[in-house]
């Protein structure tokens, strides 16, 4: 049996099992971390987004082997942070979440964007979110939420 070790939401974890299994399944099945959702299973919708060594990754396309020795942050780990709270409030105030299935991915994409660009323009936000599909909102209220978080949480990123 092969083993894969990585850091998950701050703790060192080891998984036994095939190297080629989808990391999304490992998260959901082995760790009961279900914030990352499967929308398409082919890296198109972004609902399964997680951060691996700070990079925004679709976990449905990620083989377990590729996280060996890396640091993974899922929404369950991120939601304890001040940055998350700022984003949560902004999403609530702007009505940025409707059915909610894309929202965990949107939050991870927002964190990735803001950690690289503290004050993004509309154009930059639209392109940063282009890998995260939402069928409910038409995106405008999500864009407003990210701008609100950037403004109100300027010191956090």
């Amino acid at each position: 049996m092969t083993e894969t070790t990585f850091k998950l939401n701050g703790e060192t974890r080891t998984v036994k099992g095939p190297h080629n299994q989808r990391f999304l399944d490992v998260l959901r099945r082995d760790f009961n971390l279900t914030a990352a959702k499967e929308g398409c299973g082919e890296g198109e919708c972004g609902a399964c987004s997680v951060l691996v060594d700070g990079k925004l990754i679709n976990s449905c396309l990620l083989p377990l082997a590729n996280v060996a020795g890396k640091t993974v942050l899922t929404l369950e780990g991120y939601r304890t942070t001040e940055r998350y709270k700022m984003l949560e409030n902004a999403f609530l105030k702007e009505g940025a979440s409707q059915c909610g299935i894309c929202t965990p991915g949107m939050i991870m994409a927002s964190e990735y964007l803001l950690s690289h660009n503290k004050n993004p323009s509309d154009f930059e936000i639209r392109h940063a979110l282009a890998g995260n599909l939402c069928r409910c909102t038409g995106y405008n209220m999500i864009i407003k939420a990210i701008k609100r978080a950037a403004k109100e949480g300027a010191a956090l990123w």
Binding site: R28, T34, A35, A36, K37, E38, G39, C40, G41, E42, E44, C45, A47, L75, E76, R79, Y84, L87, E88, F91, L92, K93, E94, G95, S97, Q98, C99, G100, I101, C102, T103, P104, I107, D122, I125, R126, H127, L129, A130, G131, N132, L133, C134, R135, C136, T137, G138, Y139, N140, M141, I142, I143
Partner: protein, 698 residues
């Protein structure tokens, strides 16, 4: 709750659960020892099953097919033509034949792949040939108007498939419970599912329980289709006696679930001596796919929108539903109206152009006003503020100046406008005769008030708005009003979550219940109040003749879209969007603005971006890479404006919202593209290929 304007936004009551990722969707459920199910499907469009060769099943694995159905092999809907599992004949590629069930998901999938089916193929039909439902209605004297016409103008409009493309695929988990079956699903209509399962299983109502999980988008796609999955799963649970999880993967979902009906609409107008339309003849064709499902009702809503927000005194309107050997089509936000509103909005513009009249002035000259007769001879009783809405949209977008500027064929820019109405609630006497909605408010001893309805919050904010209504009337804080996901063991049948009826009809009933509860309120005691739907007496509908008031009320909207078309690639860039809505009264501004943005994105996407086709009955676009829905980069900023026009019978004056925001997107974007390329368009989606054809072959 403080006595403030109901429209003032509050935080979505489910917001924190959803944003933090803790909301439980159907794929997040797991039951110890659960099995998994996978469907084996027809690979031909039409034929008979000659033989099914099953692989050897390891212990714990089994198949489930029609022979395991205890009662009716029918998915109970309006018509009885849709089987739970194919018996002998298959009528579309992807038609379910059997399920493979077992403990390991991967093994189940492998066994499903190993099933061999031998067919005797028959010739499939894909064209509008085999009409299985016909509807018609008339108004005035069409024959005379055409005889006296100065000119007759006729065009045909076509629309393609549209896939709901909810981000969460369809799914259920179910288990045996007592003597019956319990199903948890991603669904819009708990009682549709329950009634269908009772019929297929021959179980009584105490033995089928349906619960709603968080729903990751639906848009009509989870209206009737889940009943099919639920019936199959119930048969499997009865046979195997284990909890079973049954979730579609994206490709399967896209290939086999119901979509918006492809359509063809013929519009023919008689023009009188004053240059106005005196009569319209119209024929709407819908492709039902292999089974009728809800197609007849979709056809009816489409036909009823024939004159949209215009008054035409003489009408001859006909429609056919055609059966083809393709995946069955069904409910999708707008329900037939998007097809017809696309046709009539384009047609009004094209007729004006043919008559050398200014399209805006021509359309305004036909605008409906309060007191006018509807297409079916009902009356527009309530105040209509569409003229003011159009003025607002025109000013906000600088419409007239842009129309003038973009008439220059060299700049490849365009601006398009649509205006439209949408009937709220079920068509005709549906609410009174079929749905008979019932709602209950249950007050506990600790003075919490539970909303007991079968309405589902699928992202449209039903929990937020319905709780606001009850809290507002009881003058209580919103957090003492409880609204759990519906469970048919506890909630009455308040009807399906469809047809822009939740806020107006269900909300209206809850408002009545809350008023009664307030009058009878006894602190510290448990109390229950129920209300049933009562049709306003003046609303009269003859279903046979399609005459009278098709809807108790209408919501109204205006959409303006500005585009730029790339001169080389013919790609369309959406630059800006303006909208104005009359939905009576917004129950929550953020909820309504969210519906506006989302509905517009779907409507505009339908008009220019979302391509789905079949080839010999096989859907070609099977995933999010092939089937393109708008991304954040595709969509433009929006300027949405709500104008109050309270409806006396709606809660706080509210009417329907959800569908209204979709129905005008396609004509608005198409008219904008048409102006940008200086050529008429009569087909959606207006893809670069279609534009190239129009430009290079005219």
């Amino acid at each position: 709750m403080l006595k403030t304007d109901i429209s003032r936004s509050i935080d979505n009551v489910e917001g924190k659960e959803k944003i933090s990722g803790s909301a439980k969707y159907i794929s997040d459920y797991a039951i110890e020892g659960m099995y998994h199910a996978k469907t084996v499907r027809a690979t031909i469009a039409h034929g008979n099953i000659k033989e099914i060769k099953l692989p050897h099943f390891p212990e714990g694995y089994d198949s489930v097919d029609y022979s395991d159905i205890p009662a009716d092999n029918v998915v109970g809907m309006i018509n009885d033509d849709w089987p739970v599992f194919a018996e002998q004949e298959v009528n579309h590629i992807g038609e379910p034949i059997l399920l493979i069930v077992g403990p390991d998901k991967t093994k189940v999938a492998k066994l499903a792949q190993a099933v061999e089916i031998v067919y005797e193929e028959k010739t499939p039909v894909f064209d509008f040939k085999n009409s299985v439902k016909q509807l018609a209605f008339k108004k005035g004297n069409v024959k005379k108007a055409f005889q006296e016409a100065k000119q007759i103008i006729k065009h045909t409009y076509e629309t393609g498939y549209q896939e709901q493309a909810y981000i969460e695929p369809q799914g259920f988990i179910g288990y045996p419970e007592d003597a019956g079956i319990t199903l948890i699903g991603s669904i819009q209509c708990p009682y549709y599912v329950k009634n269908a399962v009772m019929r297929t299983m021959g179980l009584d109502e105490d033995n089928v329980r349906v619960k709603q999980a968080f729903v990751g988008g639906a848009f009509g796609g989870k209206e009737e289709f889940p009943s099919l999955m639920a019936c199959q799963l119930a048969v499997a649970i009865q046979k195997i006696q284990k909890p079973i999880k049954f979730i579609y993967e994206r490709e399967e979902d896209m290939e086999v679930t119901t979509k918006r009906h492809p359509s063809r609409t013929v519009m023919e107008a008689a023009i009188d001596a004053s240059g106005r339309i005196s009569a319209i003849r119209s024929h709407l064709s819908l492709d039902a796919g292999a089974y009728l499902g809800l197609s007849e009702v979709v056809l009816s809503r489409g036909m009823l929108a024939v004159t949209n927000a215009y008054t035409v005194n003489n009408l001859d309107v006909r429609g056919d539903v055609y059966r083809t050997h393709t995946v069955p089509n069904g409910a999708f936000r707008g329900f037939g109206a998007p097809q017809m509103i696309y046709a009539i909005e384009m047609f009004m513009h094209h007729v004006a152009k043919t008559l050398n009249q200014d399209p805006f002035a021509f359309r305004m000259a036909h605008l409906v006003k309060q007191g006018d007769l509807t297409a079916t001879g009902g009356i527009f009783r309530d105040p209509i503020i569409l003229r003011d809405m159009i003025t607002h949209a025109v000013e906000a977008s600088d419409y007239h100046a842009k129309v003038k500027k973009y008439n220059d064929p060299n700049i490849f820019k365009g601006i398009g406008m649509s205006w439209f109405l949408h009937g709220c609630g079920f068509t005709g006497s549906g609410e009174k005769d079929k749905i008979k909605a019932k709602v209950t408010l249950e007050k506990t001893k600790d003075d919490q008030v539970h909303i007991l309805v079968a309405a589902v919050d699928m992202g449209q904010g039903a929990k937020t708005t319905l709780r606001k209504i009850v809290a507002g009337i009881l003058e209580l804080p919103i957090d003492v009003i409880v609204f759990d996901n519906p469970d048919t063991r506890f909630v009455p049948d308040s009807g399906p979550t469809v047809a822009s009826r939740t806020a107006m009809i269900v909300g209206g009933l809850l408002a009545r219940a809350a008023k009664t509860l307030k009058e009878d309120w006894i602190t510290g005691e448990s109390q229950t109040v129920s209300k049933r739907y009562e049709q306003p007496e003046y609303v009269a509908w003859d279903q046979e003749k399609m005459q009278g008031d098709a809807y108790p009320a209408y919501s109204w909207g205006v959409n303006i879209v500005e585009v730029e078309v790339d001169k080389t690639t013919y790609e369309v860039d959406i630059k800006d969007i303006w909208s104005v809505y009359d939905l009576g009264k917004a129950l929550d501004e953020n909820v309504v603005l969210g519906q506006a943005d989302g509905g517009q994105a779907q409507g505009i996407g339908y008009g220019y971006l979302e391509v789905m086709r079949h080839d010999g009955g096989r859907i070609r676009q099977k995933n999010m890479t092939d089937y393109i829905i708008p991304t954040a980069a595709d969509m433009a900023p929006s300027h949405n404006h709500i104008m109050d026009n309270p409806y006396p019978l709606g809660p706080y004056g509210a009417k329907g919202v959800g569908e209204l925001t979709l129905v005008g997107g396609a004509p608005a974007v198409s008219l904008a593209i048409e102006q940008a390329i200086s050529r008429p368009l009569r087909k959606i989606p207006a893809t670069p290929e279609l534009l190239m054809e129009a430009i290079e072959h005219d």
